[in-house]
Amino acid sequence: MEKYTCDILGSMFPAFIKNPQSCHYQGQDDDENILLLLRAHPITNLPWILLSIFIFFIPLLVPKFILLLNLDFSFVPQNFSLVLIIINYLLILVIVYEGFLGWYFNVNLLTDKKIVDIDFHSILSKSIDVALLRDVQESTSHLAGIIGMIFNFGDVFIKTAASTESIDLKDIPHPDIVSDIIMDEALKNRGG
């Protein structure tokens, strides 16, 4: 299994896996092989990581604010405070777990026949876009922003002949390499 990794984050949480072993998707044909498995770059998880770190410190900050504002909460029983602290850490657990699930299962797959874009937009919403490689007309990579430039991630837009809608692969690592691989595979599928 060959992995294109350029940083520590990429090696800990692979977002660009070439020929992934023991990985399948719903609706995969028996003779179909996954060539590339792509996720958003791990750095895109930073917002929920920072949010959970902030919430982690709330129980430490609240008593200081109460003292600072000179509020009286002495009527609140001790076990209530304990429960509120437990709820606070449960909230962190949910943010971290949902954040990880959202990142881990929102994948883009390039097989030797298709391009599959699996998106879980929210808890109860899922969309799967499939395009045949032989219908791919154009693949454009787009790398923008300071963070995108530093960590080398961006978007790939794929235009197909079969539909008016295009497939967008968002925040994936090495968009230029992915775009190139897609076009090479599309040409192979068309017998070019």
Binding site: L71, F75, I86, I87, L90, Y97
Partner: protein, 78 residues
């Protein structure tokens, strides 16, 4: 000059009741949410089958069990 704490205009007993009801609602919603996560993870693991899928599913089930247990415990003790 001696600083006195700010006095609440609402009866502390009523505030404690409101807080208790708020906590009950939170833990009940959390337990329901944990069950929805189990369903979501089941859908996700069916859509993308990876070696990590059984571990993720097991974590979601343990988490749901913990959330329900906590809801029962809090409603029983608070």
């Amino acid at each position: 000059m001696q600083v006195t704490p700010t006095q609440s205009v609402i009866d502390p007993l009523i505030l404690t009741y409101i807080l208790r009801i708020g906590i009950y609602i939170l833990v009940i919603f959390y337990a329901i949410f944990a069950l929805v996560i189990v369903r979501q993870v089941t859908l996700m693991t069916k859509t993308l089958i990876t070696p990590v899928s059984p571990i993720v599913k097991a974590i979601s089930i343990i988490h749901a069990g913990f959330a329900i247990g906590l809801a029962v415990f809090i409603m029983g003790t608070l």
